[in-house]
């Protein structure tokens, strides 16, 4: 199994957990925060999708689908590729709203489709190619960005699953 195939498998498994954890949630549940400085499910799914979009963009050198497919307008946010939730204050997190669960899932699916297509064709050489680091001007091997994408997305998906457990009680995953 090569790096890209591993990454694709990891994202697929993670997608099952993530989609199961958000399925059927109301807007109130999506925006619920257990504490004033804790992220909501809506914010987490948006942020992890923006993060995946950003890392893939650095690897395949195509624009964020956030901008190229106009998703930012559906969220009522700017076309700024830097609008990813990184460095958000507690106020910004609390103020974050998605219009509908389908908007959130639609954006996530659009991001995943681009990532999957990249991983399906990426060779080991592609993943060794220099890509811009996530901050600053240094260059890093593309697989570095892939690793960052995976660890960010899986952690946040685990958080979404935990929040669903807080909201719905034990046993939601098995049901």
């Amino acid at each position: 199994m090569l790096t890209a195939a591993f990454a694709k498998e990891i994202l697929e498994r993670n997608g099952v957990i993530l989609l199961g954890a958000v399925e059927g949630l109301s807007l109130d549940e999506l925006h619920w925060q257990p504490g004033p400085e804790s992220n909501s499910i809506a914010w987490l799914v948006w942020h992890l999708s923006r993060t995946q979009d950003n890392h893939r963009s650095a690897m395949d050198l195509t624009p964020h689908v956030w901008v190229s497919e106009g998703w930012h307008t559906k969220f009522g946010r700017s076309a700024d590729p830097a609008d990813r939730g990184r460095g958000h204050t507690a106020e910004q997190v609390s103020a974050f709203r998605v219009p509908h669960l389908d908007t959130l899932l639609g954006y996530h699916a659009a991001v995943r489709a681009k990532t999957d297509a990249f991983l399906a064709r990426a060779t080991e050489e592609d993943l060794e190619r220099p890509a811009p680091d996530v901050v600053g001007s240094a260059m890093v091997p593309a697989h570095h960005r892939l690793q960052m994408m995976l660890v960010d997305n899986i952690q946040h998906s685990g958080q979404v699953a935990y929040l669903r457990g807080l909201l719905k009680g034990r046993g939601w995953l098995a049901a």
């Binding site: 690793q147 995976l150 660890v151």
Partner: protein
């Protein structure tokens, strides 16, 4: 980069997240459940480490770290290889209490050290080997099993990090 290097790197990130999230916390916070049906940081860190220990030892054909020393007594759990927390009852989750996060990190560090040694020896061909688990169709490969360790561990590490933020606020991670 080979597939096994991706796994070593991903599990190294899990270790760093755990250290960052658990260091400096009181036993009270580490053992605290936000609601009675939710997992504590202690249970999550113990469980994810047990999963890594069990699965990687199996693949490497080596004894689990859990069984080589007094770890079970220190965690007040059974000295059995399948004592991973899987399907724990609410009572068992609540009963897993530690005196300090240092115990969780010590067990995790010992397991990750063994994981690195086992994984470093795996060739790309080893990752394609099928496991003798006829209950699954198709048979899982070593690579697929490692993907599930990374997914499980990273999700739970994300939950531990979330709980630190929940208990300590946004400043919890410091500079």
């Amino acid at each position: 980069m080979d597939g096994n290097e991706l796994i070593i790197d991903a599990l190294g990130r899990v270790q760093r997240i755990l250290h960052r999230s658990l260091e400096g916390l009181s036993a009270t916070d580490v053992n605290r459940q936000p609601v009675p049906h939710a997992n504590s940081m202690a249970w999550l860190a113990w469980h994810l480490t047990r999963i890594q220990d069990d699965h990687v030892a199996d693949i490497g054909g080596v004894p689990q770290v859990w069984l080589s020393g007094d770890w079970p007594a220190r965690f007040n759990r059974k000295a059995e290889p399948k004592e991973t927390g899987h399907a724990d009852t609410l009572e068992q989750v609540a009963a897993l209490q530690v005196d300090s996060p240092a115990l969780l990190l010590a067990y995790h560090d010992a397991v990750y050290a063994q994981s690195k040694a086992v994984l470093a020896k795996l060739s790309p061909q080893d990752l394609e080997l099928e496991l003798n688990e006829p209950q699954y169709t198709p048979l899982p490969t070593v690579g697929v099993r490692l993907v599930s360790v990374v997914s499980d561990n990273t999700q739970h590490a994300g939950q531990v990090a979330y709980l630190r933020g929940y208990f300590q606020g946004l400043g919890g991670f410091g500079a």
